[in-house]
Amino acid sequence: MQEKSLSEINERIRDGSVRVVSAEEMPDLVDELGTDGAVREVDVVTTGTFGAMCSSGVFLNMGHSDPPIKIAKAWFNEVEAYGGIAAVDLFLGATQPSLDRGDEYGGSHVIEDLVTGKEIDVKAQGAVTDCYPRLDLETSLRLEDFNQAVMINPRNAFQTYNAAINTTSRTLHTYLGHLLPRCGNVNFSGSGALNPISNDPDFEYLGVGTRIFLCGAQGYIIGSGTQHLPQGGFANLMVKGNLKDMNNDYLRAATFQDYGPSLYVGLGVPIPVLNENVAMKTAVRDRDIVTEILDYGVPRRSRPVIKTVTYEELYSGLVDIDGKEVSTSPMSSRHVARRVADALKNQILNGDFILSAPVQPLNHVGKNEPMKQTKEFPLVGDVMRKGVVTVVGDLCIHEAAKIIVGGTFDHLPVVSENNKLMGIITAWDISKAVADGNISKVSDIMTRRVFIVSPDEPLELAARKLDHHKISALPVIDKDDRVVGMITSDDLSRFFSRRRSA
């Protein structure tokens, strides 16, 4: 088996004889030369990715003011940064929205403004102590005015990420972009065969201390990322780099409509072709990398899988969903991912980037368990009113009016003979029919398109449905379409007000 050492490769980088290819060029080379030939002919494979990485942020040290302040709360251009670390260290998270411009300007935009040399307005409130007497301060700073500005991202460069589709009848706005109703599009993220981890899934080289390309700077992998789950194909990296060395070409602020700000991070890792196993792994193609299209119409932690696809299918622009061709969009940029891999390649060829030996590999087993929720998690079934009076479509409106007047519900679900939901009428529908002189059957005036919930849905989702559709009641339906209860906005206000005051 062909092998070589990292120091041999670094020697070639120093003497200018190193041979570097990008991860997209490697598969054809391995096909042509075999893995042993590829180890002989190629020293380094460069990877790259450029996608929205929400789990990103910057540690900023402002230096001490006179008189000194122990910052409790701080804002950069009205974006709050976390001040609960010592006196003048702050952490600015990428997804934090601003107080004045909301989602259109957030932490990621402050980071981008700093990188492009803009001046930032800083406001801070102090926790007054004998050693830090100052109450508050205002100043304006540029990137060069900070002692340190270090990007530390807890979870970047996911190996793969699920794609998203929407089976509901309304457009959803998500961190994977706008999802059109009735499976109108598929959005996905990831650079496929260029992804760093997909080129070293066994962590032969990726580890703590691996030197990487991070937004134009030379940064480091500092560990496995949060929610790192290599056994499920969801490995990711925790990384750091010096913001002062970063370049706006590889770092961009973004806003996802009705989701919030995020940061596009350009990250590339050089993979040394140390042996034939590495050569084989770096020959990965888009068609070898599999992910799942999930239904984001189900707003729960575990979303149904609609289809398993490869990145080749996703990048083809169309995927087949139940016989229908559905258009796909990447949310990450392969164009910039290629530029990351190329920039890293050029740095190595120029002798400007030496590969580091990792101190220890990334964890081969990770953990991404669901949240342990110890507080009550109310479901619709816990709060709904039972004993709902239903009516049949043939009933005359006069009788329906009597039922509403004599009962406690303003809404009457209309059901078929075998008790299945057909529609709904409200006191308002009846008033309107009477005003119009239209005294007929319930089925003539009922609303047929009824929004419903099931008893096992969380109460918060029922509240969102009521709010979104601007309605005041939802029939609760079991799996056989039978009405088992009703939940109204009154029920919700009562429930939440009691809980708040308890």
Partner: protein, 128 residues
Amino acid sequence: MKLLLHVSPGIVRQPLVSSVILETNALVNIERANVDAVCGEIVIDVSSDKCDVVKKAFEDRGVEVVLLEMPVIKDEDECINCGACISICPTGTFKFEGSKVVEDPGKCIQCGACIKACPQRALKLGLG
């Protein structure tokens, strides 16, 4: 070619599109229409040889007509070529050419779906 029709309050209740079709004998495809009680905004598609005569026929009826030559404008410095605009567009205005996103302005109906779907805010609607 695409024409954007601004229909003012005085004439919005008239059968403008059908009378123009009868007069010009042009095949007109309504791509988007937003007509309410007081005014209307309609985007139609018409073949290039009939474009001038259709435009004049609408103008004769008091409709303000804009030829949509640059319906959507992309800021190339802001665009990162992600492709978020591709699947959201109802008429297929955007596509990849290599790894770069290119647009076919002739397909745009100025619905605005891409404007807010662009995470970089790199797109805006042109005036004509």
